[in-house]
Symmetry: C2
Subunit: 195 residues, 2 copies
DNA sequence: CGGCTACTATGACCGCTGTCATAGCGAATG
DNA sequence: CATTCGCTATGACAGCGGTCATAGTAGCCG
């Protein structure tokens, strides 16, 4: 992981802590400490306060997820919608089996904690989902899914993944994730064959 | 809604506030006020503190969701898996269109906020998901879904619903929910015809 | 050198949180 | 009546939260 400036490190750390403990339980001082950044830099880089930091963390997470899609496609010998979804799921099962169920999706955490209280964060979360859905939908189109269904199927994939993530974390068991991948794959692949 | 005792009202209010603002942002005093219950009753009925109250709220939500399944089935002229799922989704779209996107699923909120920090709450969330998945799976069995697939499909349904809920709330648009219902129905109904 | 800009350092403030301690009420019970 | 028990009432406490104010440093520019 490259050695970025303190500002980026704080955003990254914020995302990491938020996905662990939620937005409300994550303190600013904690973020600075985790990023090994000086506390005084907080008000310098984020004059908008916690709200700004959280929003940037959410945005970062959305962009990160969107960028991963290309990598998943590259990793597949022959790209199929079901294969892409399996790869998206596998990223999480891998993490959970490797380091435990400590973290969920930071965008989900922000939505749960701030959707009603903080309008800007809710919008940041919506934007993050969009930044994630977009590349997935484009990938589906490249695999032969009819244009009018790509957006809907991408939303379905991410919905299912997010929900399975929640259940897996509650149960501390990847079962829900693997089930989602297995059950959804046929539906996704069928949509690609209708061209 | 029936006029219960103060204890039940507090549990109910806790669930309601949690699904709005998350666990961490929901104060005990706030719960008592919302339930119009005396503050002194908190430590009387919930000697285990906030943790106990939250866990009971989560348990209540799980039982509530499980009980709704029977009602949904009764409301369907001819029960089908896709129809059941549509009904589950409709409960949420109805609420969102009627009173706005103020609340999500309290179990999801508890999972996001407490999965890592509070073991007992994580277990309560897992139990709540189980109390929800169980009736759904049984309903699927009654509709002719092979026994070995009922649990998996029930998990898939709830995963997708939970995820779509998150996205809908972030976007303040029921689109993700209606999409989930529309796209998943064929897959679910196909499973019922394989007996 | 003087000054300006970017960044860091700290301490204080105020509000809120969960929890505890203590005392009070009111009715049923013996 | 006296006791007990279920429930309520309040105030205090200790801790932590985000934020602000203020001052300091380091380095570049002119």
């Amino acid at each position: 992981m490259s050695e970025r400036g303190p500002r980026e490190r704080m955003v990254f750390s914020a995302a990491q802590l938020i996905r662990r403990d939620g937005v409300a339980s994550t303190g600013m001082r904690e973020v600075a400490a985790h990023a090994e950044a000086p506390r005084g830099s907080l008000q310098h880089y984020f004059p908008g306060g916690k709200e700004q930091l959280v929003n940037e963390a959410v945005g970062w997470a959305g962009r990160y997820a969107g960028n991963r899609v290309a990598r998943f496609l590259a990793a597949l010998p022959e790209p199929t919608p079901g294969g892409l979804f399996a790869e998206m799921v596998r990223q999480w099962t891998d993490e959970y089996e490797r380091v435990g169920f400590g973290g969920g999706c930071p965008v989900a955490a922000a939505t749960v904690d701030c959707a009603e209280s903080t309008a800007s964060t809710r919008e940041a979360a919506a934007a993050a989902f969009a930044a994630w859905t977009g590349p997935v939908a484009r990938a589906l189109a490249d695999m032969g899914v009819p244009e009018e269904r790509t957006a809907d199927l991408a939303t379905l994939m991410i919905s299912t993944l997010e929900g399975a993530l929640l259940i897996a974390r509650a149960e501390q068991d990847v079962r829900a994730l693997t089930t989602a991948a297995r059950e959804l794959a046929p539906l996704l692949d069928a949509a690609a064959r209708t061209r």
